[in-house]
């Protein structure tokens, strides 16, 4: 896995680490929001922290920004511990979830705020502000007040206000959460372009897995204050290490079961509902026989057939319970004779759709599913 390379300190000599969290804990009045997380974020990386609400991701971001002090552990920015360093002395700038623009100032004054605090020269401030305005395509709005802007425009101002300070790290707290779908897609592209143009480290917090997958170099999936997995988007999607990650990222079908027999090439698994499955173990597999496991099969990896097939390892019969026509794809809900319900996603091949309650067979290869230790 790629993150092991980066997280191993001896291998990271030539990769500059911008932000490092070492065994960080945060407790609020007895509630543990963050339970010992380790993250290393490299210079220039687009790093996302992904998880459901309440998983501790925003707390993690606030710890890096300095709005909260960790209860335990250590945070380093550019190699220096930032313990007890107040937010205004940290080389990071935040794009807040609801932008937090100063509504008593114009767009221009908002963006110039950080530079004026630093008492830069008038000419330099002017030059850098107009550069930032150009970067987010808001040149013609400099004299407006935030209340006179749309959500997307406010978002751009918030970005410019952070970027103009040329921070080591830009922290983005659900930056696109308040925008409608179409605008969100547009801003995703712009955010990605900005990141590539500037080469600054971006750390983004989001609950939107699609956003995280499409934008990030690496993703940390958080759950109940812990990190479940860190990896590239394809790593996270194709090789989830825990049932939570498999379930949270994309759609999946999960079967609880246990390992009946294992050899390096294939695991024989029996599910709790009695299905026999053959699964090729992941490289990291270290489970033993009779180990409880969860088998995960993505809906798009499942094939359907009206005829019975003999030579397929994972082939089960069932009835078609529901069909949803999605245009590019067709979504099937199949009830197996074991009682399990499977979601199946097939590309639309312009065939006539099978009728409801038709007996149907589903199958997938041993390499198209994963066995995760439960």
């Amino acid at each position: 896995m790629s993150q092991t390379v980066i997280q191993d300190p001896s291998a990271a000599i030539d990769i500059k680490v911008d932000v490092e969290l070492r065994n960080v804990f945060k407790v609020f009045n007895g509630d543990t929001a963050v339970r010992g997380i380790d993250i290393s974020i490299c210079q220039g990386e687009f790093f996302s922290i992904l998880g459901p609400s309440g998983c501790g991701k925003t707390t993690t971001l606030r710890l890096i920004a300095g709005f909260e002090e960790p209860t335990g552990g250590e945070i380093l920015i550019r190699g220096k511990s930032v313990a007890h360093v107040p937010p205004y002395l940290r080389p990071v700038n935040t794009v807040f979830q609801s932008y937090a623009l100063f509504n008593h100032m114009t767009v221009l004054d908002n963006i110039a705020f950080g530079l004026r605090i630093k008492r830069l020269g008038k000419a330099e401030i002017q030059q850098r502000v107009s550069e930032a305005l150009r970067l987010v395509k808001m040149e013609s709005f400099a004299r407006r007040f935030p209340s006179q802007l749309s959500g997307g425009q406010q978002q751009r101002v918030a970005l410019a206000r952070a970027l103009v300070n040329r921070p080591a790290v830009v922290l983005l707290d659900e930056p696109l959460g308040a925008l409608d779908l179409k605008l969100r897609k547009e801003m995703q592209v712009e955010l990605s372009n900005l990141h590539q143009t500037l080469g600054v480290t971006f750390i983004m917090v989001t609950h939107d897995q699609e956003e995280a997958l499409s934008l990030s170099d690496r993703i940390a999936v958080m759950h109940e204050g812990r990190i479940e997995q860190i990896g590239t988007p394809s790593d996270i999607y194709e090789n989830p290490q825990t049932p939570f990650v498999a379930d949270f990222i994309g759609d999946t079908n999960l079967f609880q079961g246990y390992v009946e027999a294992s050899d390096p090439a294939a695991l024989q698994i029996t599910t709790d509902k009695g299905l026999k499955m053959v699964v090729q173990p992941q490289e990291t597999w270290n489970g033993a026989t009779s180990q409880p496991v969860v088998v995960s099969v993505r809906p798009e990896k499942i094939q359907v057939s009206l005829n019975e097939l003999d030579n397929q390892p994972n082939c089960y019969s069932g009835r078609l319970k529901h069909v949803m026509y999605l245009g590019t794809h067709v979504h099937y809900l199949v009830e197996l004779s074991s009682g399990d319900c499977l979601t199946v996603l097939q590309p639309n091949r312009a065939e006539s759709l099978p009728a409801l309650h038709t007996p149907i067979h589903v199958y997938w290869s041993a390499t198209d599913c994963l066995a995760l230790t439960a």
Binding site: A65, P86, T94, A100, N103, F113, I117, S147
Partner: protein, 273 residues
Amino acid sequence: MLLVPAGAWLLLLLVAPSLMILEFSLHPGLRPGQAFGAYGLGNYLQIFQPIYLQVIGRSLYFAISSTLTCLLLGFPVAYWIAVMAPKRWQNLLLVGFVLPLWTSSLLRSYAWITILRPTGVLNTLLSTIGLPTLDLLNQQSAVLIGLSYNFLPYMVLILYASLEKLDKRLLEAAADLGANPQQVFWKVTVPQTLPGIAAGCLLVFITSLGDFVVPELLGGASSMTAARLIYNQFLGATRNWGFGSSLSMLLILAVSVSIALLIKYGDQEPERY
């Protein structure tokens, strides 16, 4: 049609008396029981005599000083209750602060007499711990103490309402952009709460300017104010209703201008331009 009862009420209790005062003020030297003489501006010209200008100046001085005192004392208190105190204590702290308003202002002023008089609570305390005693009662300082004490709760209430609405994320955003706590205060907190500050100041200014009880009870002979002067003209020894009325008109004008300013600027949200 729905406005008729309220309109009639307003006409009867506010507009009619004001017009009566206006009528009185236009008859120079009008005394009770006397028939209206010729119209004239004599009552208004009388205001410009140095001794009366001094009284008006003193009234303004009291009003402005007590406003500033209330702002300087009230802002930290309101800030503390609204921003720093735990949420569940906020209402209790606020009630505690407003509690004095439940007693009459007359009573509170008498209480200050017992505190400030030469043999009062304060001086007893001072002499017990070996400090020189203070002669505050019947001085201007006693008026300032009394006015500030009386109107501080109003200031705190209004500032609290303003600070409570303050978006705390703006404070974080400013800190994030490199502003230290002082810079956050002057560049974000103050501009964001300016409408509340203006409203609080105008309210304290107006009520201090028109207050009669505090200067009368605590101020002594050296603290003649416009309100006391009006009282003297109507009910005191002088009994010059005409002059009293012109002074009243002046006070009504000053208060009206202040209220107009308050309506125009005080309630304006910072995002409306």
